[in-house]
Point group: C2
Chain length 784, copies 2
């Protein structure tokens, strides 16, 4: 048997894997064989469709990247500014990842993107190949040929894991993209002999606005190498990205245009800086590089990033791509994906389901991203250069989203990386002037986005599952300090009074609930450290959710600093009612650390089960949706909003009532209706992989309702079978009997041949390896 | 005998030195003793008056610094912007160093300054101590109490080498400043119990204008430590200075105000960032730190700079000032000055002359400045961090000025530092995307200020005088590349046609003359490298001055690209006539590499001598002065403009005629009339020490008319006697016989007892040590 060790790149034992999958999904051998005929080498990669989620609100991008790669090289179909005449442009939101499937204009290819976020930044270093007359203005999508942009058609577009191709109609240039962790690799093929230009747009940003660019700097180092950097003040307040770009042939001429209001220009007035002057600097610059190309000629561009320096970028470039073989890099990128995706092998009813599944798995590996140079150096929160010591440093932690299922998923299939991420969080803590763990870390910045201090959940989950080697006392200290940051988000009042007061800090109920859960996580770490004083303190804090529960209406409800609940209160509304990205009905059920107590508060198991039914069946009113830009009607079942995270555990809550079969029913319904293999296959923002991680877990039949504990709640698998290969070399095989679209109910479950009672799985059992068999049925087994 | 080795800091053998000086200037023992009584320890330091040059156009600053220190901590008496309503504010120019003696308002103390430049930048990190109501606006000098500024009086002000003190009248705060190489040390003494504030103005700049600030970043690391940086786009296009500031007591509260137009603020809207929020960032910020102080309390502030990072600044701070003993640092600063100044010991007629002399010597050590952290790391031109290896890295090379006499002076008394500077120039070359040596280097930037490529002169002079250990072939390559930078300043045409064409590049005659001289320097290096091809090529290039000499009018004259001399030509005008900072009469005589040939061209010795007389006696018309902001009427003798550099060799040119006694006469006149010990004691910009270096040489009786050769032209010493101690431990003693104000003529000169014929000294003779005796007379010795 091919034991796949933990490695970051390499060759997949694809024969054996393919053999295994063929065995598991015998009914699909024909289709599988066909796919293999087409691609020869890769199996799992073929089931990735990066277009999923690019239509509407998925906010994913179709471009080329490797797993957890710093470079995410993808087309941009928007260039409208975030503000027009000082007013927010509502179109901005849909371009969080730079691309919308409905567009037919490409402005170029930029090197950094978020995947699935509900706010944005990045889009660094837009490259656009053109021919003919040089245009330095991007132009408007509505006006063909108004700038350097080009029309394109999906017919001539191909998106794969690690590879993207499109024909730029206006110039008849075939653009192909691939990447390594830190290098974007472009291949532009020209249709005819012509004057070609590569525009390097240093102004372009996702979520662009005046003054976002702080500074840019460019050097033409020699006839084919450019170095430089861009510094922005965006979502990340102080962010600098360095690059080195190499062309496969010498530049014939070059220049730039500066779009600054220039009051003073030092002594540069001596020169015509705009043409063939090798040093350019300013706030807003677009540069161009000219080439004479022949018919059918390929111009290759390697574009390396660093967050340290141009010297770092050059080292990254030379280390990762020391050749001009585009196909080799593409091959290696896809091998990396094949390796990661093959960790979960599934058999399914349909090919579409495989595509949905493997694309979801793909989407769980687009952030966090590696945030260090090949030599381990990176720029820290204090803006100094640090060296990762014994770990690989990561950034982009969208923790309010990802602590729920993404990091628990990593603890199953990416424990080494998750341990690196825990170390990265502690490094962030060490560098933080607030002495706080990340809330929403973004390069070397804290964005402070959303609520809670959920690094503690990620750390507690890793400790609970024994996947981290961090010093636990140091981790505990970091968690304690982070949870006592008095000036953070209503925490001062919470620390004194056990709840966040709505009149002092909005979304107060959500904050109280998340804090209480986080405090439970800290208690678990403290217990592990045998620190009984802190354990007791944080257990007590973990009960703070009761302070925002109004028994008179059996609902979580915003409380004022006076200690009174707020009079005006609409539990259906998602805005201004003490919650964020949710209303009292769904966010109000967020007490994962003590679900039995919450069920009690809500009136006991029967009443609570009915309340859950009510959530799934009472249609939410349109007026509440209109206000909520994160979701579309597609992402909602009744009042259950799958497009946002606070309710992701809700379908599993039936397990704590006498109607656990309803969890099975709901989960299967959500898996079926909220995800698909189409461009609009995500019903809301993928949120840095959390939506996709929910899908992976739920498809496999279980879900981490309480991160920080080693338990999973059992749902209903929608795969036919699966083999999960752990880093320890063992495998967990999931089989189903009687699986079908109709057979959503679980009759019984066997673990290594023994019947399981209850609806809970233990992490340590699973990673020891074994076989989990679900006996499916079209009728609920109405057990308690 | 106390042999003073080359060292950078330490204790001066002042007893022996003092003894020696007392012997030499026996007639002044009483005064000397008095001075010693006052100060106990320092002798030379007492003759430094940093106020010299702070009135009118000297552009020096009175603040505290150590020799060649990166930190130059000095009061600012101006805060008016460089542009008002888009128009240049003509007041800007006089504030090149931030201070004007005629002012009575101080806006604070900033940490970086140029000394004597004719253009400006810097003024980083203005600190202002205040009491009472917090004011964050600087206010206007014309409106007392309109902002945080304070009135002050020279009666309560004291400026010394390494120390500055002033009473801030508005707050009755005694401010004292001292410094190490990289740390400014402030001591503020408060008159009464009060709420005190330290304003940290990150907007203040010398030569300030909108958008000059690119970005600033601040962290309150703990209750008494602040770190941060400021990035500016000024004369240095891309410059970042990092700092760490430590207070001697905990801050009671703090905050900041942001003066930015904010369109988008990420998620920082969650916080009240303005008060006690430990991380601040933006383009334009003023921060404040509050303290409760008692009557008579001293608040100390240590402020370290780095051009690498805040980590570097912290290391600089901890390495250089690991205590809170202000007096110790002051003592050490003055010891460093005492050591450097004691290298030339003079006896004079008057105390005033000593003050003028030692202040001039002091002014020769305020730039270049050390540009590296204590660990040898520095930010290079490529914006990457480099490590100086085997040398100390320097920046601020105002080479068009300083190659003339300042670097030659260093080759006498600072050869180790000058060697470091040569290495710094070659490091600059290595990092330059233009593959060019510095023109006007400013931190990690090339300002491109003024004309020529005069690094080659500095390198040639160091090689000629054997004071550098650089690889000469590498140096030659750097010089050759620098002199072939085709897009630089008319060089393309010069390379093809042997002159710069006025219609293509203004100041074309000055450029041609400087290039030809620089090319002569390169020829010397090439000859030293035994590269005969390059020697011949550059000897030929060194003759290019003939191409801009018009024999029909016996004058250098602008030539057009057609090969014709320009018709319109006024040899008296300093603007638009092919010259810069000079007219044809004075700049036209700049052929130091072949003075006999130039004398021939000008009609032979007699005619040329008459022409020189004409220069010194024909008054320049007012209309030409008005246009020239660099000089005042005080700096002019006839048409000789001592306030600018191109004529600095002119007084010595009589040596190449039959009237060398006129050199003696002119030099003595200039020394006497163009310099004094008063605030207005400099007749023009000190130009980074070049004016002062001229004074030092000329006072000692010789001058390096041709840097790049080991020869000096003899003038007329104005000191009574002098002892120069070289790094090799040997001493050169200069004695005069019959010296007096009237006895300006040199009757004869003896070197180690032997009569010298001619008017030339050789560097290698001098540094071997010995005695040079000038026999003075009130009558010229009319020899040929």
């Amino acid at each position: 048997m091919c034991r796949i060790q933990n490695y970051r790149s390499g060759i997949v034992c694809f024969f054996i894997l393919t053999f295994k999958i063929l065995t598991l999904s015998a009914q699909k051998t024909t289709a599988t064989a066909n796919v293999n005929d087409d691609y020869n080498e890769f199996w799992f990669v073929n089931y990735v469709n990066p277009m999923i989620g690019t239509k509407n609100m998925g906010h994913t991008f179709p471009g080329a990247t490797v797993p957890f790669g710093m470079v995410q090289l993808s087309p941009e179909t928007n260039q409208e500014p975030m503000f027009e005449n000082g007013k927010y442009n509502p179109e901005t939101y849909k371009y969080c990842s730079g691309y919308q499937y409905d567009d037919n204009t490409i402005f170029g290819f930029s090197h950094t993107h978020f995947s699935g976020t509900g706010h944005s930044d990045l889009g660094d270093f837009l490259l656009m190949p053109t021919t003919g007359e040089l245009k330095l203005e991007p132009g408007s999508a509505g006006s063909p040929k108004s700038g350097f942009h080009s029309q394109f058609s999906h017919l001539n577009e191909q998106a794969e894991a690690g590879y993207y191709k499109v024909l730029l109609d206006d110039y008849q240039i075939q653009a192909e993209l691939t990447a390594t962790e830190r290098v974007g690799f472009h291949k532009y093929t020209f249709a005819k002999k012509e004057k070609a230009h590569i525009v390097l747009d240093l102004i372009h940003s996702i979520y662009n606005y005046e003054d976002k660019n702080v500074w840019t700097f460019l050097r033409v180092e020699n006839d084919s190498t450019i170095s430089g950097y861009r510094q922005t003040n965006g979502w990340a307040r102080t962010r600098t990205v360095y690059f080195v770009m190499k062309f496969s042939k010498p530049i014939s001429s070059y220049g730039h245009k500066k779009y600054d209001h220039i009051q003073y220009n030092g002594f540069y007035r001596k020169f015509d800086e705009t043409k063939n002057f090798p040093e350019m600097a300013g706030k807003n610059i677009r540069a161009y590089f000219d080439f004479d190309v022949e018919e059918g000629e390929e111009l290759l561009v390697k574009f390396a990033l660093s967050n340290v320096s141009t010297a770092g970028a050059l080292n990254n470039l030379n280390t990762e791509v020391n050749h001009w073989d585009f196909d080799k890099t593409k091959q290696e990128a896809q091998q990396k994906w094949e390796h990661e995706l093959s960790k979960i092998q599934i058999g399914t009813e349909t090919e579409a389901q495989k595509t949905t599944f493997y694309t979801a798995l793909y989407h769980t590996m687009l952030s966090p991203v590696i945030y260090e140079d090949v030599d381990g150096s990176y720029r820290g929160l204090d803006q100094n250069i640090h060296q990762s010591d014994g770990f690989e440093n990561y950034s982009i932690f969208s923790l309010w989203d990802t602590y729920r299922a993404l990091h628990p998923l990593y603890n199953l299939i990416q424990p080494t990386r998750n341990n690196d991420m825990v170390h990265s969080m502690l490094a962030h803590y060490d560098q933080s002037v607030h002495h706080a763990l990340p809330i929403w870390s973004h390069y070397n910045n804290e964005n402070w986005c959303m609520i809670g201090y959920h690094s503690v959940s990620v750390i507690a989950d890793a400790i609970a599952k024994k996947t981290t080697n961090v010093n636990q006392n140091r981790a505990l200290e970091a968690c304690v300090n982070s949870s006592n940051l008095s000036y953070y988000d209503g925490l001062d009042f919470y620390l004194k009074n056990g709840y966040v007061a709505e009149d002092l800090s909005s979304s107060s109920v959500s904050k109280t609930l998340e804090y209480a859960y986080d405090d439970w996580c800290i208690a678990q770490i403290a217990r592990n450290c045998e620190n009984s004083a802190l354990t007791n303190e944080y257990v007590k804090r973990s009960e703070n959710y009761v302070h925002v529960f109004d028994p008179s209406i059996r609902s979580m409800r915003p409380k004022l600093s006076t200690g009174q609940f707020r009079q005006e209160f609409n539990p259906m509304d998602t805005h201004g009612q003490g919650f964020i990205e949710g209303n009292a009905w769904n966010y109000g059920l967020y007490v994962p650390q003590n679900i039995p107590k919450m069920v009690d508060l809500m009136g006991g198991k029967a009443t609570f089960s009915q309340f859950l039914d009510q959530i799934f069946t009472t249609p939410i009113e349109d007026k509440y949706i209109e206000k909520n830009e994160d979701i579309t009607r597609d992402g909602i079942i009744g009042n259950y909003v799958h497009g946002n995270e606070p309710g992701h555990h809700i379908p599993y809550l039936y397990n704590w009532t006498n109607t656990p079969w309803k969890t099975q029913e709901r989960v299967r319904m959500i898996v079926k209706t909220m995800y698909s293999d189409k461009e609009d296959g995500l019903c809301g923002n993928d949120d840095a992989g959390q939506m996709s991680a929910w899908y992976i877990f739920s498809s496999l039949g279980f879900y981490p309702v309480l991160p920080g504990s080693p338990t999973y709640a059992i749902g209903s698998p929608s795969v036919r079978n699966a083999v999960i290969t752990f880093e320890n070399g063992r495998t967990l095989t999931i089989r189903t009997k009687n699986q079908s679209t109709a057979n959503v109910y679980v009759d019984k479950i066997e673990w290594n041949g023994k019947l399981i009672s209850g609806f809970e799985l233990n992490h340590f059992d699973l990673i020891e390896g074994g076989e989990l068999v679900f006996y499916m049925s079209n009728k609920p087994r109405k057990v308690k």
